[in-house]
Amino acid sequence: MPSSSLPNKGADRRSFLMATVSTAAAPLLPGAPGAAAATAPATENPHKPVDAIVKVNGRDHQLAFDVRTSLLDLLREHLGLTGTKKGCDHGQCGACTVLLDGRRELSCLTLAVTVQGRNVTTIEGLAPNGELHPMQQAFIDHDAFQCGYCTPGQIMSAVACVNEGHAGSDADIREYMSGNLCRCAAYPNIVEAVKQAKPAMKTASRD
């Protein structure tokens, strides 16, 4: 249970609101095709929590949360997935980068309520069986971080960068990784890590 990794506050609101379900639950989505209404109000009272099913790392979670919640806060505060980091919280640093349906996006600028029906992949989902993803191994091999705070975002972004076909040259890697800031300035090592992981990712996907 993700909740077990959270600090124990007794029967707190967080664990009360969180009920993890393992079944695919797409039919519960409001606003599914066939709904006759012009728009489907998912919330009628802005102060009542929204109920939603969010799929993270292949697993459905049924959650109730404030409509204002960002995907980043949902991951960290509701699901205990604290690998995804909060840097600026305004789309300027890339620390919160996750994959949505395989594309890299910023979880801080994503309203959690909008990701129903989409697949969220976080850094925790890169190594589901405890075996490091080639990109994670490459970051270690090339010492591509110092403090490590930006690293989960860098790695998620780097995986997508390779998958997009934007890791063709050093210049390409630098340009397409520019949305991830590193205050320790590990940039040269990050470029080397991406170059190492690129062929390894191809091999891994062939296996």
């Binding site: 209404a37 012009a38 728009t39 802005p46 204002r68 789309g91 340009e175």
Partner: protein, 332 residues
């Protein structure tokens, strides 16, 4: 952040009907402007209408034909920036998107939302500054007397000097695009240049969109100038930064002589800016350094600096001059 009612659009007409009848309703696409400014309490929608479910309709499609390019407003920046035919046939479009934001944001932000992005003026973005006519009409402008390095030098008024921050809009102007808009009375199409307003007396009114209207698509005609087009962006760092000055240039050139020049400027103006005087000056002439410089002078003839941003006038001229020469030299 103010709480809001969240609604999910199930069809375009329904979304428009809902938005038209609710005060304080805002459409949500990528959310990279709206959610950001909601967190800052700068935008306070009462209802948020999520239009992302319309992405599977014509709103989300990119189509190329003989007559031109149709960009659905819900297509993402990255979809257009990485589109091989757009890169080849409409380079200024792809370049303007490619040079904007980061790949994460380009994956999120819609093209419709991109042209409607709000200014990055720090006095607008921070509610701790009481004076901002754009955010709070009648409250004044803290930028005119403040630190105004990033603000505009063209199209300013005594009420507002905030710069328009986007890039893609300039490419649309350079390619003479139109914008298709859905409203409660049906759909209308207007030249893209008629979408944005200069601040004048009402900086809070940034566009000519009526309440509830929704951008459906951008229509870019296949013209003699589309291939010979360039977006040049000058900024404080090489990537992931807004423009200090930018120029979108499209040239119809024959035997080294300009038949038609189309020019738009970014980073320096309060709204996406067409430099008509510069265009006219180049008509019938070859693009060489002297003529490019003359055109740049004409483009900035009415420019006004506010102290910290005075450098933008010279920077803007040089940017345009270089963009013109780059476009003229393209091997097509």
């Amino acid at each position: 952040m103010q709480a809001f009612i969240y609604e999910r659009a199930t069809n375009p007409a329904g979304a428009v009907a809902t938005a038209s009848h609710q005060n304080g309703a805002h459409y949500l696409a990528g959310g990279t402007t709206l959610f950001d400014l909601m967190k800052l309490d700068v935008m306070r929608p009462q209802t948020v209408i999520d239009i992302n479910p319309l992405g599977g309709t014509a709103h989300g499609r990119i189509e190329l034909g003989r007559s031109g390019l149709r960009l659905g407003a819900l297509a993402r920046m990255a979809d257009a920036a990485d589109h091989p035919q757009i890169r080849e046939q409409y380079p200024v479009i792809a370049q303007s998107l490619q040079l904007a934001a980061s790949q994460q944001i380009r994956n999120m932000a819609s093209l419709g939302g991109n042209v409607l992005q709000r200014t990055r003026c720090p006095y607008f973005r921070d509610v701790a500054y009481a004076a901002c006519n754009k955010r709070d009409p009648g409250s004044g402008c803290a930028a005119i007397e403040g630190f105004n390095r990033s603000q505009a030098v063209l199209g300013t008024s005594e009420k507002c000097i905030a710069a328009y921050a986007g890039d893609f809009a300039q490419a649309l102007i350079a390619l003479d695009a139109a914008v298709e808009i859905a409203g409660s009375e049906g759909t209308r199409t207007i030249p893209f240049t008629a979408l944005h307003r200069k601040p004048g007396e009402a900086p809070d009114k940034e566009t000519t969109l009526l309440p509830g209207e929704l951008i459906v698509s951008f229509l870019v005609p296949a013209a003699a100038w589309t291939r010979r087009s360039v977006y040049l962006k000058v900024r404080d760092r090489e990537s992931y930064e807004f423009a200090l000055a930018s120029a979108a240039v499209a040239l119809d050139q024959q035997n080294g002589t300009v038949r038609n020049a189309r020019i738009a400027l970014g980073g320096v103006a309060t709204a996406p800016w067409r430099a008509t005087e510069a265009e006219e000056l180049l008509s019938g002439k070859p693009i060489n350094e002297p003529n490019a410089k003359l055109a740049a002078e004409a483009a900035f003839a009415t420019a006004k600096g506010y102290g910290h941003n005075d450098f933008k006038i010279e920077l803007g001229k040089r940017t345009l001059s270089r963009a013109l020469q780059q476009a003229a030299a393209l091997e097509i």
